[in-house]
């Protein structure tokens, strides 16, 4: 039963107020993109056992989408941040590195 703080309205929202939206920071590939890129965007998922960057919507609250960094094993939440960015904030990445030395996820500077 997660609680996540909505970075938009500040509410510590109960899971029942939220809608999960899956992996975050996927780059959209539209018409003309090759099959690999499109498949990677729409279907292939990092699905890590550990730190996960993911999308949530505060559906039964302010209605805004936001991002969360969360451990899929312990449910630790490293932070939440705006959905209106293409990569996690550096201070959050630093904080995760401090708590989980050597953690890896896909290279966020590369297109998915």
């Amino acid at each position: 039963m997660l609680t996540l703080q909505c970075p938009h309205c500040g509410v510590h929202a109960e899971e029942t107020e939220l809608t999960g939206g899956g992996e975050a920071h996927l780059k959209r590939f539209g018409p003309g993109s090759d099959d690999d890129a499109f498949e990677g965007y729409l279907f292939l998922r990092e699905n890590p056992k550990g730190v996960h960057f993911e999308r949530w919507r505060h559906s039964y609250g302010c209605g805004k989408w936001f991002h969360a960094a969360r451990c899929t094993v312990t449910m630790e939440v490293f932070g939440t941040y705006t959905a209106q960015t293409s990569k996690p904030p550096q201070d959050l990445l630093d904080r995760i590195s401090e708590k989980r030395p050597g953690w890896r996820w896909r290279d966020l500077n590369e297109p998915a």
Partner: protein, 414 residues
Amino acid sequence: MKRYSAFAVAREALTGHKGWERAWRKAQPKKRYDVVIVGAGGHGLATAYYLGKRFGITNVAIIEKGWLGGGNTGRNTTIIRSNYLQDPSAAIYEKARSLYETLSQDLNYNVMFSPRGVMMLAQTEHEVRGYLRTVHANALQGVKTRFITPAEVKKIVPIIRLDGPRYPVLGALWQDRGGTARHDAVAWGYARACSAMGMDIIQKCEVTGVRQEAGRVTGVQTTKGDIACDKLGIVVAGHSGVVANMAGFRLPIECVALQALVSEPIKPVMDCVVMANTVHGYMSQSDKGEMVIGGGADQFNNYSQRGSFHHVEETVRALIETFPMLSRLKMLRWWGGIVDMTGDRSPILSKTPLEGCFINCGWGTGGFKAIPGSGWGFAELMAKGHSPLTEEFSMWRFREGKFIDESVAAGVAH
């Protein structure tokens, strides 16, 4: 392998049951096998069994990070049915169901397959039409189902409420040869048979890497040392992405928690499986008398085998609407399992970008019922390179747009 029978039990009873041998041998890994299967759950063990039984491939190791049958095989609600809409699904699930019919005899192990019937309630006009379509499709697929009236529903399941104030029952899709089986026994029965064929089941052995040369698999690294193999089958529901990552590819899969619960045992009141998809809940009664209950899956990535309680609330609420007498029973135990969800909620049984490496995953919430069919088809795929049963379940179907979408007929696909 000593055969099991009532006679054998009686004979052993006279000598204090000292003569029973191990159900499966304790094995240490050899240096090399023809085939290594990662994952000693139902699907992995069934694959190994049919590799031996159908194709004579018995130099096989099944390696398991925990204890055999300890993943989703031992955590599901044991429903067996094949009333699927799409041809590829109906084919593999009906193959599985028909193998279940004789599995106890084939394995000489009572898996308690109980074809008590599976009923899927139609509670909206849309659902009625969806199930009518399924009945028509099933008739052409060789799956025996029919659409039954509310009166027939009530006759089969006296504890059901037909005229609930919110979603009255308008009829149901009925498969009389669907049912349940004892989940642990399926894993144990296959394990015993695999062991008897000379295969090695290696428990508490975790895969830490996949070895390859020039795009071809050569073996696995494990916590019990390196093991070489010609072919590798990855059958690790709930961890598919982790092992695929070791083999160097990604999957169209996300892992989420699926929860289930049982009530305290009561005397028999329900002799079939009932699924109510409009309200999201399903229930059967075990041979011990517990009401076995399941519902929808959680919505976020999860490897913890713990789910969120509000789903349990919703499921119980839905079932009390359907079976009001449940209100005065008590929940005995709740648990969660981690399931693989694919882009179309149908499984993947496929070759992979790594030659010689095959993957069987993505069964979502409905893997148990498929175990024998999945093993049958996947063994054929691994042995021969193709199988009509697995043909459509390729991992490349998503990029082609060739989905196998079952949500068309039934919202929940357990």
